[in-house]
């Protein structure tokens, strides 16, 4: 029944910690429901397909070297990179899972989209969509 504030959340992309720029992280796992409804079924029927993981991040743009924007920009069209999401900020542990996608072969995270917003008189902000390829694990130790 825990209710947990998000303040200590951690997020890294290609081993660069960028939670110091971010104010929003949404990681979504979609599972296609393959329809198997047959004549004899009473209700619509489905089995689970292969999981797809997508992470959307947003925050303030830090254009310096080795920070978020430059690191993510370098990932556009590049091979898969590793990401770690730690919502609680103390993981991995029994009550603090880390969601890890580790670059290896075809496994890892691809930069699917990036957007930088530059409103006059306001902070420069960016959002990025990261498509996971292959395994994303829930590590608790």
């Amino acid at each position: 029944m825990a209710r947990i504030m998000s303040n200590p959340a951690l997020f890294s992309y290609n081993a660069v910690q960028i939670e110091d720029e971010l104010n929003s992280i949404v990681q979504t796992i979609d599972v296609p429901a393959a329809d198997i409804t047959a004549f004899a079924d009473v209700y619509q029927n489905a089995v689970a397909g292969k999981k797809s993981v997508r992470t959307e991040i947003g925050g303030s743009a830090d254009l310096a070297a080795s920070q978020g924007w430059k690191t993510l920009f370098a990932g556009i069209g590049a091979g898969p990179k590793s990401t770690v999401l730690d919502p609680v900020g103390t993981g991995p542990g029994a009550n603090a899972p880390e969601y890890q996608c580790t670059a290896s072969g075809l496994t890892g995270v691809l930069v699917a989209a990036m957007k930088i917003s530059l409103p006059v008189g306001d902070a420069a902000r960016y959002t990025a969509t990261l498509q996971h390829s292959g395994l994303t694990s829930r590590a608790v130790a």
């Binding site: 947990i4 998000s6 992280i25 979504t28 489905a46 089995v47 689970a48 919502p87 608790v140």
Partner: protein
């Protein structure tokens, strides 16, 4: 003429989740097969096979045997047991697969999650039977 306060009971894979959840939507949908003919005055349809989906949202609890561990472990797997009771007394049960799971982390907000489940029968074999209303 009863008015019922929402007092959700919800378990998935025998794990009680209502202590994390703050909203739930239970959606029954029935495809309507169009059979409109030239002689009909109005559009005409027959009912297809019903579907039952459950969308829930609540506070993220990463502890072992709570929502996150339970839902994450079910992703991509066979249907698992659910029991949903909108007023804590009467509801529906069966087996469901997880269709989506989303963790939302925002500054100065509690960590939240949403999940979607689809009923697929009364056994892990996806037998396509209707939910039990009990």
């Amino acid at each position: 003429m009863a008015r019922t306060i929402s007092d959700l009971d919800f378990t998935f894979n025998a794990v009680l989740l209502e202590d994390e959840l703050a909203s739930a939507n239970l959606n029954f949908d029935v495809p309507s097969a169009d059979i409109t003919a030239f002689a009909d005055v109005y559009q005409n349809a027959l009912a297809g096979k019903p579907g039952f989906n459950m969308d829930v949202a609540g506070s993220y609890d990463p502890a072992a045997s709570q929502g996150d561990a339970t839902i994450f472990a079910a992703l991509g797997g066979v249907g698992l047991t659910y029991d949903v009771e909108p007023n804590g007394v009467l509801g529906y049960n069966g087996y469901a697969i997880v269709k989506s799971y989303s963790i939302q982390v925002a500054v100065n907000q509690a960590i939240k999650y949403t999940a979607s489940f689809m009923h697929n029968g009364l056994s892990a074999a996806a037998d396509g039977l209707a939910p039990t209303r009990a």
